[in-house]
Amino acid sequence: MNSKITIAGVEFKNPVMTASGTFGSGREYGEYMDLNQLGAVVVKGVAITPWKGNPAPRIAETYGGMLNSVGLQNPGVEAFIENDIPFLRQYDTKIIVNIAGRTIEEYCQVAERLGEVDVDLLELNISCPNVKEGGVAFGTDPFMVEKVTKEVKKYSKQPLIVKLSPNVTDITEMARAAESGGADGLSLINTLLGMAIDIYRRKPVLAMKVGGFSGPAIKPVALRMVYQVNKAVNLPIIGMGGIMTGEDAIEFIMAGATGVAVGTAHFNNPRASLEVVEGIQKYMDTYGVKDLAEIRGII
């Protein structure tokens, strides 16, 4: 059985990755699992300078899901390079760096700086709903999606994955725009914009009032979007949104995903991504799937 996959010329031992922002740089969950077993660690969004992030509360639980308004708190690209890359390089897993910016220039600067260091792919986050500038402002306008992709692509040495926002009317339009801009792959979905209200305090639960909705409750939406995007473009897709088990991951692969990322599930089970790896393997063994390509995009 072969669960190896290739995205933009980079080979991964299996399709399972960690969703950006849910796994830090792997240090904390590395105490709960063998990071060598993962296809890739996708690290928390990194910007050119440190970002403080949003005020607390940043977390709210909802039925079968959660909201977050972390707002891309990160120590900046230099601290990331110094502390996290040497840590991750101890493991036999790929490193994908999620990059954040307020302006096109900032995205380009991060991409350029990362070009000098040993990481495998870049994931351009133009879909964070928790920051005012940059983030989702770029990800919901096809003209901007194409423009920012094209610019950042000029500065990146590593293959560039563009992470799409689901907070749009037609996700295929954004996917095509990223493809025209020269993206080497797409990842989707980022969080859906959501809200929760504390009726006893008569206030929103989150300090920012609204935040990104993730977890198993969003899986049908995510799956539908992966399916549509797979039909619309000719790029490898990293699918995510509510994946809890190997079976969930197989659904995304059948809808057209090459890689799959596990995020919120870690909060419910620190070993979630490893269990997804095991679950995929078990499915392949049980149903005689020799290569994931046999079932990819069959729907």
Binding site: G21, T22, F23, G24, R27, E28, Y29, G30, E31, Y32, M33, D34, N36, K44, K52, G53, P55, A56, P57, R58, I59, A60, E61, Y63, G64, G65, M66, N68, V70, Q73, Q90, Y91, V205, G215, P216, T264, H266, F267, N268, N269, P270, R271
Partner: protein
């Protein structure tokens, strides 16, 4: 650096030995946790996962007490929402998933001869194991809205336990701070350990600063991972070098912080 298989931490399914109401809407749960009891520092917490799958996020609950010999970990929790309502329904022999111990507990300054423990409401439980382990002169001040709990447990470890209730139904009528101000603290040195609602902590820190006592406070924030990975649970902490505040993770950098470094929002 890389851990071997046996060293990986994991979610653990443990048995509930006892789960009883000890005050109105406050429950005490004994868990048979095994070896974990040996590694516990007072002030640390566990993540308790709901058995109902739609409630994804673990509930952080402080470790109240451990019985090392019998490998029992005790928590005391208030029923305040959906998850804790679910916990209250568990019976003995039911099982729950936990991870822990998590976070940094209180620094027990061994030389410190005089300790003052100040707890408010559901902030009282984590002080129990601390009171048990501290030696020397230990004073305990507890504040409750009305129905107190754990008072007798503290009395096993020190004879200086003082209680205040808002409605005067037990002990002193007023806040724990009023009660503190009633006593003359003439000791030169004391370490203050505190846990409770934010407005109380803020006032206790002010009081400690006036008395020039060092103070450790345990903070609460809404969490997702509980292990430091998501940066969801932040509080504002003064960076002593730069003088500026920065967001720190309650679950990993705390929950116990130096009270003087906490920046309180209005």
């Amino acid at each position: 650096m890389c851990l071997t298989k046996e060293q990986w931490k994991n979610k653990k399914r443990v048995e509930i030995l006892k789960n009883i109401e000890i005050a109105q809407n406050v429950y005490k749960m004994d868990l048979q946790v095994g070896e974990m009891v040996k590694k516990i520092q007072p002030g640390q917490f566990i993540n308790l996962y709901c058995n109902q799958g739609q409630r994804l996020l673990p509930r952080p609950i402080s470790i109240c007490q451990v019985d090392e010999k019998r490998e029992i970990l005790t928590i005391v929790y208030g029923v305040v929402g959906k998850g804790t309502r679910e916990f209250a329904q568990y019976q003995s022999q039911d099982k729950v998933d936990i991870i822990g111990p998590l976070g940094n507990g209180y620094d027990e300054l061994k030389k410190e001869q005089h300790s003052i423990l100040i707890g408010g409401g559901l902030g009282v439980p984590p002080l129990v194991e601390l009171a048990k382990r501290l030696s020397g002169n230990v004073e305990v001040y507890l504040g409750f809205r009305s129905d107190p709990f754990l008072v007798d447990t503290f009395k096993q470890y020190t004879n200086q336990v003082y209680v205040a209730t808002d409605d005067g139904s037990y002990g002193y009528k007023g806040t724990v701070l009023d009660l503190l101000n009633q006593k003359k603290h003439v000791k030169e040195q004391a370490m203050i350990y505190s846990c409770g609602p934010k407005p109380m902590l803020k006032n206790i820190v002010k009081w400690a600063k006036e008395k020039q006592y060092p103070i450790q406070v345990s903070l609460e924030e809404r969490m997702a991972c509980g292990v430091g990975a998501c940066v969801g649970c932040v509080c504002k902490i003064q960076n002593v070098e730069t003088g500026e505040w920065e967001y720190r993770r309650v679950c990993k950098d705390g929950p116990v912080f130096n009270g003087r470094e906490v920046v309180w929002d209005e």
